[in-house]
Symmetry: D3
Subunit: 124 residues, 6 copies
């Protein structure tokens, strides 16, 4: 990994702000739909974040994987659940997903580390 979780978040927010300030209203609406797709409904957010995680792994997008690893963590996905979801992604998507699995696991460890060092601040 070339950046820390904090660097990832900072870059993501900075650039999203620029995109949303561009004046292209349709992109703004897409971003809004993207956020809402993971809100609780008939399915809880936890399940939806797992869906987002697996979709990101099989489509092999590290930034999307990082984002959903963070969100899965916040939704209380356990270690065993996390690995079972990754296994579904691995079987569906094949060995080409393994480098992304490695980075997903590294991101999970970063999340756990942050959690340990300041359990409260994370949800602040």
């Amino acid at each position: 990994m070339n950046d820390t979780l904090d660097e990832f978040k900072e870059y993501r927010e900075k650039m999203n702000k620029k995109i949303l300030a561009s004046g292209n209203q349709q992109i703004q609406r897409f971003f809004n739909l993207d956020t809402r797709a993971y809100e609780p409904g008939a399915l809880p957010s936890k399940t939806k974040e797992l869906l987002g995680l697996v979709a990101s792994v099989v489509l092999r997008c590290d930034d999307c994987v990082t984002y959903h690893v963070i969100r899965c963590e916040e939704e209380g996905v356990t270690f065993a659940e996390f690995y079972e979801a990754l296994n579904v992604a691995l079987v569906v998507g094949g060995s080409i997903t393994i480098p992304h699995l490695r980075r997903a696991v590294e991101r999970l460890e970063e999340c756990k580390q942050l959690e340990k060092s300041s359990p409260k601040s994370r949800r602040a």
Copy 2:
């Protein structure tokens, strides 16, 4: 759709049988891992089948979508849950997934129809 659910199942079983009879042991083991990935563990089968469905839609494989629609149905996924999962797939994978959404919805209707006409035989 060019084939019915029954034709789909028949072709799938016939060809899987041939592949498994080929003598290539590693392919046999892969097929075994594929089956086991959706068995209940830390995550229930229902969640795993939804993961398989969304992965299949974003990777745009109609046969895989058909298979997971059938299995989701068997696991009791509701109409609203089904559509929320498809919405996650649509947002992640974009409009290029829409033709597969159309066929997923057609398959869902076929399942419901079969269910209605012979509710018991389906699980026999």
Copy 3:
């Protein structure tokens, strides 16, 4: 091709109607964004439809290709322009796109044929 242009359109409309009637508001909004993305703005519709065509060819979705071939035709894309756009898609996406090129060209011919047989009705 297994279906005619008319069959394609009929199936597409029938299933879209079902999806939009499902009550999932977010999918409705996505479909709306999809339609609006090709409306004239800073770029004319013709250019946007060519963008949609090339994106569909490199992502290798026959139904999406068919849709954009029809729309390109309506926007007055010429034979030479059509082939130059397909050439960009072919170079970017490689020989794996060739089967989709073949079907795109078949669809283009169907459009021209329909045009010839009833030039007015098409725009009615």
Copy 4:
């Protein structure tokens, strides 16, 4: 499968002819490069056709798979070699490739059948 090997070949040739007759010289050159990529060089044609087969399976293009199955057959790829190549594709590309594996195996059987019924005519 919706078409026989003969129908596949006929459609492919008919449409390729139209594309090459379009006057777009760059597409003609691409088609030429595509043909030449599998000619013997430092690597024999047999190995190159296996490369084309595996690339086609992991990219999940049935028509490309069919084409390379036919060519592998002509290059004398054995049953065991064929399955080992498919296994590499399956492991790299995951279960999402399985429907294409089924159709690849069906195509292989069609080739063997044609071979048996008229061993000479095939190479005529």
Copy 5:
């Protein structure tokens, strides 16, 4: 981004030179076709570069996106046109393209910055 526009260009040129010096004539010809696909013909270069940009975003290749952002800039694509093209890519390719959108926008800003600091040298 881990490299500047200048570093990107330098690496690209250095490695392309090595590939072209390898003696593999077919790769040389492919590179030639790649360059020529964007030359003006029935469609102007500006449109073709937009096609290349959108194809690169939906196929999610940062280096290809960077290249076409630079070229679009040179062809005079406006800010609003750029965002409308990105919106087509976003709708077709889904949220999985968003990380690439962020980097595309960063590259666009780098181009604008270079333009401002030395408007003439860029075209020298």
Copy 6:
């Protein structure tokens, strides 16, 4: 490239160890199948590694490409064979694979360099 061959190998081994220590038995079995797919059988390892290389290029995974470049080197793939395999990947996968070709060639040079500086240690 942001990391050397040694850094690549170290990270890969460290993270694979963590994944295999997670207790998820199915992932362990998948990793085992992945290793075994390239062992000599009806096809020699050299051919299988070339299959893995081409599959990795068309699916555009740099880490997978790096891994198979190293393995191809160990199996004695010559410079000309290497480029012919890359040409098949380029033709099948299109210009979108070119950035990966550049990095593949850089990796190949790193391998040759290591070979020269300590020809024995590499196979130790």
